[in-house]
């Protein structure tokens, strides 16, 4: 296998049938991510427009806990790194055990992120920061919440992939799906960087 290594994830022999088959799917998934990016883009714009509409309710300085946000950011960035290790163990030697191991670690880091995020949301709600309170809070919950929902879907996807790996090992189809999952996971990271800068840092500024 290793003599065939070339840039990319090495589904099979260079430019073989598997490569050809995954090209379409990967390209389609990129387009899907672009359209998803439009959705997030509009939600970002909505947040910026709604940011002043506090309607007498609590604002960023009362609600945001930057320490928790920093932890969440750390966890998510780390999970992106461990997903990189998933891809690398898939590329070098196709070691099923290593791929599954790093997938589990990635899922654990993602779950940790989600745990902190839900805790933050619960605390905000306790402080009166519920989405029903103001236009600002509606836009905040929608944007950050949608990212969280994406993460839940990503975790479910990891679960399905682990089941698939157990059922049939690292077949070409499984590898090609892991490639898509990787794109998705790094995309979530990218969106989070936007949320971190625009919502939390920008909101406090």
């Amino acid at each position: 296998m290793s003599e065939n290594v070339h840039p990319g994830i090495n589904l099979g022999a260079s430019h073989g049938e598997a490569h050809h088959g995954s090209e379409r799917t990967a390209f389609g998934f990129w387009i899907f991510l672009m359209s998803d990016l439009v959705i997030f883009g509009i939600l970002f714009a909505t947040y910026v427009v709604m940011r002043p509409n506090l309607a007498g309710g609590p604002g960023p300085s009362e609600l945001y806990d930057l320490k928790s946000i920093a932890k969440q950011t750390g966890l998510l960035l780390a999970s992106s790194f461990t997903f990189g290790l998933v891809s690398l163990s898939m590329k070098y030697g196709s070691r099923t055990g290593a791929v599954a191991f790093w997938l589990v670690i990635t899922a654990a880091l993602g779950t940790g992120f989600l745990y902190l995020e839900i805790k933050d949301f619960a605390r905000m709600a306790g402080d009166g920061g519920i989405p029903q309170r103001s236009g600002f809070l509606s836009s905040l919950w929608a944007l950050v919440g949608l990212h969280g929902l994406h993460l839940v879907a990503g975790l479910a996807w990891i679960g399905v992939m682990l089941a698939l790996i157990t059922a049939r090992g690292l077949s070409d189809a499984v590898k090609s799906r892991l490639l898509l999952l990787g794109l998705y996971w790094h995309f979530l990271d990218l969106i989070w960087i936007g949320i971190f800068s625009v919502v939390f840092l920008g909101g406090m500024a």
Binding site: E23, R24, T25, F27, G28, I31, F32, M34, S35, D36, V38, I39, I42, L43, T46, V49, M50, N53, L54, A55, G57, P131, Q132, R133, S134, G135, F136, L137, S138, S139, W141, A142, A156, V160, A163, L164, A167, R168, A173, R177
Partner: protein
């Protein structure tokens, strides 16, 4: 508190019940429409049962992943919805004849009519019509075997059908929203529209909108990645170019719709404050997001029609398309500019003069590439040997009417003038004046053009011509007087009026509506009569019009695998060149095994479950919605574990089928253009030297 099992659904939500208590003309119309839906469903079920068609329907159509069949099903779905939307237009026109200081429909009922009419025409007629046409034609034109994602294609159709189904159900169970096809809040928020009507709209549009996004992705990948060898970008037929452009626009334009829709749903269901009057909501933001979808949508449905006009002008004039490159550039320019003009839909909402001016200018600029296109088509026809077949009749009608409609668009693009006529009948006249000739005439032309490829026989020319002339006349009479009404100050969406001078004009437009009904009837009769007479109209060789692009080189109806061997292309209009210079209809050098997707019920399952979910959400049956959603997720996960998704078709079978086809070709007498409309046209063209 709503019921834990049935939510807010109970037996008093049908129109029959209101008719029972209060038997007026208004309630009779509502009950009659509901009855038609029920009887229609029963009649279809009875027909399928008595002819024993359920099994073939399931096996050959509903579970098929063949792009041609999916395309045809899209068009059929759009056709059914078209019947309803035209009928609604007719009822509205009838009402307006009586609407001087009143009218026989209640204002609320009238509001439902214009809301569903617009919703259906945009989302469940225009969009599925062009989606269906692209589905059917594009893989054939680029020499591909199918879409890039055949099963996802089926799912897209299922989602569109689920949305259409919800709109149909709203006729019988409960009511539709009254906020127009755009459903602007705060009127459509929970405070002012608490009932299920707006929710029907939200879920119908939300579900079918996701289907359209997926279609866009599918088309784009298909055209980027699945072109046969030699089909370079600048050798793609114009229709494929417009399909690619539309696909890209779908990918970017439908997400804003999804977002504005989801936000409205959050406002209504969970008491969020995106668009409410109080607590920091901003209702103008809805219009802002919605029209980021809404304006490009106009071009999403009109560009493929432009593509049809490009194909037919060159085929029926027997000339190369004039200014191919400029048409490509114009198409792309329209796509880009169409994303930069959305604000012209709310010039009067107070964003200030300089913003209005910028968007007004941007809007007017669209006329430039559109003009380029019209000149290119005219130049293509110029000195061609034109056959005035049905598609060219639609093209001629389009030339006259669309240019006029476009000019009124330039008028509306001027904010100062828009202040005078916005929300008036002038606007109604304008957008019917562009969308009917632009989209409907284009799709009609396309249906007549490609019908033989889909079914193996031509449509009856005489009847089809009659329908085309009736469409033209009915359109002029029904819509052009609205310009005058608008200038005289009659608002759109008004259930009644006080100016007696309007009444005579209403009779005029009513006469137009009658002619439109006659056109529709003639059109349906064209299909029925042609199907009955299909032996005489058959053209199994597949090239009845002396076509120019790849799709005409294969049999009619095209086989499941489209092409026995992957074609190779060396120029634009490859089939014309082959017919003129080389030998068309040659056996391939080698045949290879191919794989086609197996039948699957994914589309039906996902479409059905999302439809149930939408219905449950409309009526607050939370348990059912959760169950249906869980079913969708389970189906997607289960699909990931299916390995046996394809079946192989052997090279020998392909070789044999192709040989049989070539034998039939050799045994068929070629016909020249003069005999094209006679029953001697079996689909083998005797070509003229290409111009």
């Amino acid at each position: 508190m709503s019921d834990p099992v049935f939510g807010r659904l109970d037996w008093r939500v049908t129109p029959f019940d209101d008719f029972w208590r209060n038997p007026t003309a208004n309630e009779a119309v509502a009950s009659g429409a509901a009855l038609v839906v029920i009887l229609g469903a029963v009649a279809v079920a009875w027909f399928l049962t008595s002819r024993r068609l359920w099994r073939p329907l399931w096996r050959d159509w509903l579970t098929s992943a063949d792009h041609k069949k999916i395309g045809i099903m899209y068009v059929v779905l759009a056709g059914v919805m078209f019947l309803r939307a035209v009928a609604e237009g007719f009822v509205m026109r009838t009402h307006q004849v009586t609407a001087l200081d009143g009218g026989f429909l209640s204002p609320d009922h009238f509001a439902q009519l214009f809301s569903t009419h617009g919703t259906i025409m945009i989302f469940f007629v225009a969009t599925p019509l062009i989606t269906g046409l692209i589905n059917f034609v594009v893989p054939l034109q680029i020499g591909a075997r199918d879409m890039a994602f055949p099963v996802m294609n089926q799912v897209s159709l299922g989602l569109t059908a689920a949305g259409a189904g919800l709109v149909m159900i709203s006729l019988v169970v409960g009511q539709f929203g009254t906020g127009g096809w755009t459903m602007y809040p705060p009127y459509t928020g929970a405070t002012f529209s608490p009932g299920p009507g707006v929710d029907y709209w939200i879920w119908a549009i939300g579900i079918s909108g996701i289907g359209s996004t997926l279609s866009g992705i599918n088309f784009a990948v298909t055209i980027y990645k699945m072109r046969a060898p030699g089909v370079r970008f600048l050798r793609m037929p114009m229709f494929t170019w417009t399909a690619l452009t539309t696909a890209i626009m779908m990918v970017y334009a439908f997400p804003p719709l999804t977002v504005s829709n989801a936000m409205l749903a959050l406002d209504r269901y969970l008491d969020f404050h995106f668009f409410t009057n109080d607590l920091g909501g901003n209702m103008m933001h809805y219009a802002n997001i919605f029209w980021m979808f809404g304006h490009p949508e106009v071009y999403i449905v009109v560009l493929p029609a432009y593509g049809v006009f490009s194909e037919i002008s060159s085929t029926f004039a027997a000339k190369r398309l004039y200014g191919y490159n400029s048409l490509v550039i114009a198409t792309l320019a329209i796509a880009v500019i169409s994303f930069c003009v959305w604000l012209h839909h709310f010039f009067t909402m107070g964003q200030g003069a300089s913003v209005n001016a910028a968007f007004g200018i941007a809007t007017m600029i669209i006329a430039v590439p559109t003009g380029v296109k019209v000149y290119d088509w005219l130049a293509t026809l110029y000195e061609g040997r034109i056959r005035m077949s049905v598609p060219i009749i639609y093209l001629t009608g389009f030339f006259i009417l669309f240019v006029f409609g476009g000019l009124t668009g330039v008028i509306l693009a001027n904010p100062t003038l828009d202040y005078q006529v916005h929300n008036s009948q002038f606007l109604v006249a304008h957008f019917h004046n562009v969308l009917i000739p632009g989209t409907l005439f284009g799709v009609f032309a396309g249906i007549h053009y490609w019908f033989p490829k889909a079914f193996g026989f031509r449509l009856d020319e005489r009847l089809a011509r009659r329908a085309a002339y009736l469409w033209f006349a009915g359109f002029c009479l029904a819509f052009l007087p609205l310009y005058w009404l608008g200038l005289m100050g009659m608002p759109r969406r008004a259930a009644s009026y006080e100016n007696a001078a309007f009444e005579s004009v209403m009779w005029l437009t009513f006469a137009g509506a009658v002619i439109v009904l006659a056109a529709l009837g003639t059109m349906i009769w064209t299909f029925v009569a042609s199907a009955r007479n299909r032996a005489a109209l058959a053209c199994p060789i597949g090239d009845p019009w002396d076509g120019r692009s790849l799709e005409w080189a294969t049999a009619a109806p095209a086989p499941e695998w489209n092409f026995a061997a992957t074609p190779e292309v060396e120029a634009l209009d490859p089939f014309t060149i082959e017919k003129a210079e080389g030998e068309p209809y040659q056996p391939a050098e080698c045949y290879e095994d191919i794989e086609v997707p197996r039948n699957t019920a994914m589309g039906v399952v996902i479409g059905g479950l999302t439809g149930v979910m939408g219905f449950a959400l409309v009526w607050w049956m939370w348990w059912l919605a959760a169950l249906a959603l869980a079913g969708v997720v389970a189906a997607i996960v289960a699909r990931a574990f299916v390995t046996d998704t394809h079946q192989r078709i052997g090279a020998d079978e392909l070789r044999q089928a192709h040989r049989d086809f070539l034998d039939r070709v050799a045994a068929t007498e070629p016909v020249n253009r003069d005999l094209e409309m006679t029953s001697r046209n079996r689909g083998r063209a005797d070509p003229e030297a290409p111009a």
